[in-house]
């Protein structure tokens, strides 16, 4: 069965997420981070941040909502029952701090077939309220038996 590739290059509407102090703390505790810059405003400011700063991987929290419509788009046509998250890359710029409004756009970079598996590669790009580049993500999903 040939894999559908017409969604390559497709872009989806951007989403905006306002970063909050307690949400940062919740995420930081789950991954076991203890650096007070993730919990305490004074500690964060003392370290040169505008406010409590998110751990780098908190980017999944504010960038995933932009990706969801791409993943479920029938034009992409991913078979979720046979899908695994194969790979992930993030490249960070400006830190994300409490109070920031981060806008993320999503795009389909590649769809291809290799060894009977479908590879679906998406890119998310997140910028803050000042237009500063916060993070770029490359998300690779692999679908068995395409």
């Amino acid at each position: 069965m040939a894999i559908k590739t017409e969604a390559i290059g497709k872009e989806w509407p951007a989403t905006t997420y306002e970063v909050g102090k307690e949400k940062i703390g919740e995420y930081a505790r789950v991954v076991g981070l203890e650096n007070p810059v993730h919990f305490d405003r004074d500690a964060a400011k003392g370290a040169g941040y505008r406010d409590v700063v998110a751990p780098p991987m908190f980017c999944v929290v504010y960038s995933s909502p932009a990706l969801a419509p791409a993943m479920f788009d029938p034009e992409v046509g991913m078979n979720f029952a046979a899908m695994v998250h194969g790979g992930q890359e993030f490249e960070w710029g400006e830190p994300a701090c409490s109070g920031d409004e981060i806008t993320t756009s999503a795009k389909c970079l590649e769809i291809y077939e290799k060894d009977g598996k479908g590879f679906y590669v998406f890119e998310t790009n997140s910028v803050n309220q000042d237009g500063g580049q916060v993070v770029r993500g490359t998300w690779t999903n692999i679908v068995r038996g395409v």
Partner: protein, 130 residues
């Protein structure tokens, strides 16, 4: 300032996620895929039981890489991983890493996250500012 040289091993990170960790990670991240939180659903789709979120394990790799650069979250500039094995709750995860190169104030660290012989994350490459 962190002193890293090519060939150095970074400090090993050992974490044993408890039974309910995937629930807390789901809440923190917003990823409520039932394969991570519902054992019956997980078994119905052919898994041994619930599995850890890959992005949680990537979070541990990010933590180990950041700690190698003295723990400032700004230090982590890039992280690229491949998810190659399923992670299970209630089993120790060991994150290890070796500094591959140091150039222009940046170090590249090769990392692996494993549960025993099962490498859940491999070919991970972190770039940190020194």
């Amino acid at each position: 300032m962190a002193e890293l040289n090519a060939g150095d091993q970074i400090a090993e990170l050992r974490v044993t996620p408890d039974k309910y960790l995937p629930h807390r990670y789901a809440g923190a991240s917003g990823d409520f895929n039932p394969i991570h939180i519902d054992p019956e659903f997980a078994k119905a789709v052919g898994l041994p039981s619930t599995i850890l979120h890959g992005l949680y394990m990537m979070g541990l790799v990010a933590r180990a890489s950041t700690e190698a650069a003295d723990g400032d979250p700004r230090a982590l500039k890039r992280l690229s991983v491949q998810f190659r094995g399923m992670g299970a709750p209630e089993t120790e995860i060991v994150v290890t890493g070796t500094v591959k190169s140091v150039e222009g104030g940046r170090a590249v660290i090769d990392t692996v996250a494993a549960q025993g012989e099962n490498q859940t994350i491999r070919n991970a490459e972190a770039e940190v500012a020194l």
